[in-house]
Structure formats: C-alpha cells, structure tokens
Symmetry: C2
Subunit: 398 residues, 2 copies
Amino acid sequence: MIADKMKEMVENSSAIRAMFEEGKRMAAIYGAENIYDFSLGNPNLPAPQEVEKAIRGILEEEDSILIHGYMNNSGYEDVRCEIAESINQKFDTRFTEDNIIMTVGAAGGLNVILKTLLNPQDEVLVFAPYFGEYRSYVANYDGKLIVVDPDTTTFQPNLEEMEKKITARTKAVIVNSPNNPTGVVYTEDTIQKMADILNRKQKEYGIHIYLISDEPYRELVYDGIKVPYLTKYYENTIVGYSFSKSLSLPGERIGYLVIPKEAADGELIRKAANVATRILGFVNAPSLMQRVAARCIHAKCKVEAYNKNRELLYTSLTSMGYECVKPEGAFYLFMKTPTEETEFCEAAKKHNILVVGGTSFACPGYVRIAYCVGYDTIVKALPGFQALAEEFGVKKAE
Amino acid sequence: MIADKMKEMVENSSAIRAMFEEGKRMAAIYGAENIYDFSLGNPNLPAPQEVEKAIRGILEEEDSILIHGYMNNSGYEDVRCEIAESINQKFDTRFTEDNIIMTVGAAGGLNVILKTLLNPQDEVLVFAPYFGEYRSYVANYDGKLIVVDPDTTTFQPNLEEMEKKITARTKAVIVNSPNNPTGVVYTEDTIQKMADILNRKQKEYGIHIYLISDEPYRELVYDGIKVPYLTKYYENTIVGYSFSKSLSLPGERIGYLVIPKEAADGELIRKAANVATRILGFVNAPSLMQRVAARCIHAKCKVEAYNKNRELLYTSLTSMGYECVKPEGAFYLFMKTPTEETEFCEAAKKHNILVVGGTSFACPGYVRIAYCVGYDTIVKALPGFQALAEEFGVKKAE
C-alpha cells in the first residue's frame, strides 16, 4: 500500500541495511574493536571545543525565544550575514545575507535547490563515481539523472563525455569536490574547462545550466591544497555547504546554500528556495545550530588526524601493490579491487574488514574505504589487507 | 527558469510575505509595542527550564560523537524507546521504539509519511478550515487534496460530507486536533463516528485509508479536556507529533511519527518512512534536540499563560458581540467577521491589529487570532476590537 516509487527504494536500501546489520552481527561475535568498519562516512573526531563553548555561550547570553524560535525560513539574518562575510573573506567574493539560505545539512540544501529548479524530465548530470543519494534526490522531483562515465586515471570529471551528454533538457550539473568516494579535488584547470563548455552549451541551446557544487568536504583537504570556489568560475553556480564534517556535527543537520544574484534568475531562485525550504517540511534549519555555526565559523575539527590516517592507509596499500589515486581531501580512499568487486568485499569480511563496493557509486571494480576511523583501526586492519593482496595475487610495486 | 510548480507557490507566498512586511513597516512607524500582531503561530513563551538543564546535562554527561553524530535515520533507539514508553503511560498503548520515527518537526513528519504513501492522483481529505501547508505537502507528492466543507456551528469535522467524498482513490485523511485555526478539539464521539465511516468505506472499496493525525498542539489544552489518542479508535492511524509548541522549540525542528504495527502494511510503511526521511534530505531529526526531547518528555511550557490569554480574548470578544466557538486547545481563536473578511482585515490594520483571513484556511468570512502573545498585547488591542465592532454594527449579546 506504499507509494510505487518507494517500493523499489525500500528494496535497494535493504542492501545497505544488510551490510549495517552484518557489521553489528560481526561486532557481537568478534567484539567491536576487532571489526574494521570502513563503510560509513561518519566522522570519528569529536566536534571542536568551540562548539560546546558556543552552545553554553548562547544559553547564557541569548534569549530563549530567539534561540529556539521561528525565524525567516531562510534562517537568522545575523547568521547568514556572518556566513556571507566569512565566504567573502576566504574567497574574495561579494555575497550578502540575501545570498545565503540556511539548510538542514547539505542533503536538505540539495533537495531544496532541486525542488526549486527541476521540471519533470529535466536532466541532471553527475560524474561517476558519485554519491548514490543524488539519484534519489533527482528522482524526488522527477528529474532524469544522466551519468557521465568516470575517468579512472585521475578521477577528474570526464569533460569530453560531459559535453556530449548535455542536451536542450539539461538543467543542472552536480559536482562534489573534494569528492566522495574518491577524495579527489577538482583542479582549477578542470573547473575552468568545465565552465567553458557549460557556457558554450548554454548559448548553443539557449538555456541556463546550473552548476550545483555539493561541498560538505570543502574544509577537509591535505597538503595545503586549494579547492576553487566555483561561483568565481561560472556564473550560474549554486553552492551547497554543510558543517557536518568541518565541525563534526553530522547529526545536527546544519548547512547552507549560496545563491549568487549574478546567477540567471538568481532572485527568483532565492525566493523559490525559501518557499521550498518551507513546503518540503524543513521550515528552517535547526535554530540553535544556526547560531552555533555562526559562532564557530572559524573553527574546524582536527583535520590532521584524518591526514595521518590517509598517509598510513595510502602508503600501506600502495606498497602492498593496490592501485588507487591519492586522496587530496575528504576522508575516503577509492581503491581498485584486484578481483571482482563483490568477491573482494566478501573476502574482506573474512578479515573483519568492511568496505563499500564501487557499484554503489556507479563505478564497479573499486571499493570505498572511509578512513574517518581511529588510527588503530587502520593499523589493525593492514594485515588483513596484506592477506587479501596475497590471496588475489596483487603484485608489489617495484 | 525555476520549476513551473514553484512559480505559483512563490506568487502565493508573496501574499503572506506582504503581510509580514506590512507588520514590520507598521512596527517601524508606531513602535513594535503598539502593533498587535495576532498573525503568527510563534509561541511567545520561553522553553521550560528543563530544556536548558537538559542541554547542559547532555554536554556534561554524554559523548560529543554520540550527541552530534549520525544515528539510524529513524533516530536514536534510546530516545525512541523513551517516547514510546511515555505514550504508553499516558494512553495505555503498546508501542515500542520500532513504532517511532524521529522527524524534523511535524512538517517534516507529514512530508515523510505523504512521500511514503502517495502515488500521483491519490486523494487526501482535509477538513476546512485547515492549515494551508497541507495543500503544499500533498502537492509535493502529486496527490490530490480533497477539501471537506466546514461545519461552522461546531467546527467539528463534517462527517456526512467526508463520507460522500471518499472514493476508491482515497489514500489518507488528515485531521488536526486541537485544531489550527479554530482551537477546537475533536470529541471522542466524532472520532468514533469517523472511524466507523472509514472502516465501512475501506471495506466497500477494498482499500486502506490512513488517518494521519497532525498533533503539534496536543499538550496545549484547557479546562482539563482530553484529546483522544487516535490509534486506539482506528487501526490505520499514523500520528505526527512535534515538540515545537509543548516545549516552545519551533525553530529546532523536532518531532516524531508513530506508525503502529497494527496499521495495514505497518512494517513496510515504517521501513519506507525511514528511507523517505533519508532521501528527502532530512537524513535524521537534529541529534542534540532528539536527546533533549527524551530528557524533557514530561516537561511542558506554561500553558496557563495561554489559557489566561484565551479567557480574556474569548470573554471580551463575545461580550462585544463577536461570534466564535470557544477554543479548547492550541492558541488560536477563529472569529466570524461582521463584514467581508478582507474588509475586516484592512480595517483592523487601522487599529494596528494584524490577523489572518479565514480564506488562508479555506474558510472565508472568518479571521484567525493567534493569542500566543503577551497578555498586555491583548489588553491593548481590545479597544481596537471594540471600535471595529461599532464600525461594523456588531450587536452586543443580550
């Protein structure tokens, strides 16, 4: 008796759930400390001290009705102002509070902007491997997901294929850099070329194509790498941000959209996104956490811990002979499987290692290893990876 | 370039926005304290002391990663358990954590359950006057809103007309008691009769009809009145609750759905609602506030203050000769206008009084007066209501 659309979704999600249950089952048998669960993108770092301090400060200094009350559906004006200013400082942009809509995480923000933009059958391009939820988000508004095949050498977006797949029905392109699941950061050169193609295609078809930049991992980058701010490269860019990873607050559901007024119909999009926030049932981003985000705008979780994990994991796996591109951001490593993906995942389980197959990201033959875990978990899992390398005849690098 | 569906919504919402702007404009001219704004359902009472105490306790006693981290999309198990037990205690039910899904407020919960249930063109019945957002929520999933005309004598649901409007495509009936905008509580007799009709119609058409009970005002009742718990009267009931009003936390977006396993396909609905929570971008209800809700399950804002407002407003208006049903719950009074609704609203503004026309609730010829304001605001607005009564020739009650 449930909706037809939901039936399929429930079946698909059982697979993920089955894995989750398997993890719990294994933990019960072997002890949680002996299960090396790399399957979830759940930050293992606590929120920075500033978060607790901010909450206490707000409770002491601000009025209860303001802290917990309704505000404009877009969020508190002072919070949006603070956010706009911090973006301007970092990226030399010119945003104001009118360009910011506070959202229930990045997932909420993506739903708001897709609800705002999509007519049924409108096409939305994504680059494999991509975060599987994009499929559902686009389907929510009867859009058509168009998948651009991966460039498995660099995992930069395959621009040649992107260009071919743009049609008169293309409404948006979603990019995610630093990327889940590869950890790759799209280069300035890539972004510039992408912008050129999009501009050309907009003219060719007489349409507007919105570049939706999903940036929950923006702050998690290593080796001093810079993540280009896309509104500076392409006018019709909309940014979705989340504090889930930078402040280790994934359960709190707090993020924002940036809608530049230079974007085509920017003002109308802003108004409609405000309405979409309301009618989708978000109403507004959680109020206390909006205020926390503003107070913690310069705070950050201890990214160095993720970097240590990354170095250990990357160095160890590649020295065992596994193939992967070195992640420059986020907390994922996307590794080529030395055998068929499912076989590898099953074999890994025998070593108490849980990873997610690349098929979940439309890129079979790989696994995603989420290294937002304790350093010890990686240390203890390495012998398992070594055994798997031997089992599947991975050849050591010379 | 925005979605066609959204264009209309933006235009409609400009009307509400215009009123909001008008309020701000008036406040700037006359001073906020001289504007009697009865237009918003935004609680004026602070959250009870227990909320702040709970937040501080959680920060001291619980682990940061647990407090702010991801959990099952349905919410923390211990929180759901606490909620199920409190419902069982109050209403002699038999729920467990498996029947509870934590939601981003009641608005989030309604979207989740409608996404879960509705196929395009499925019919959803509502009783005028009804909370205008239902129209958008049903439209989000391409459902068809069927409005049952009001019984303006009692503002109990018009069951005779409900029965006539049920068809083979009826999927759900939404009820809201205590009611926004009338403040009426549906009687046990009404509920029993409604259940009988629904059961008969289910059999007649061989379908399941879900009764969705939207209960953000459940705790705000006066004169010791009891609000029947609908799962006890009709098997296919799904309850949507919010802590927005009981704990004065509307900005925090925290509520829950109750999905009884006795409901037809209850288990499948629960699974699908879990998925819908994720894919609509809620992901989960805000984590800290879930934990706060569990610790404050027996707390309540000072309902007595609303009651004082209600008594003053009802007694004064009726003694001036205005007609209205005495509200038994929520913080709204629905008053018949002595002249055409828009004319009355405009005239009221001249006395610095802001109210919402009944047309917004599909019940023209009335205004909603939200009395979740300071007592003084009512005292100071009464001369304005008196002047309006004289202006439109309202006859004093004998």
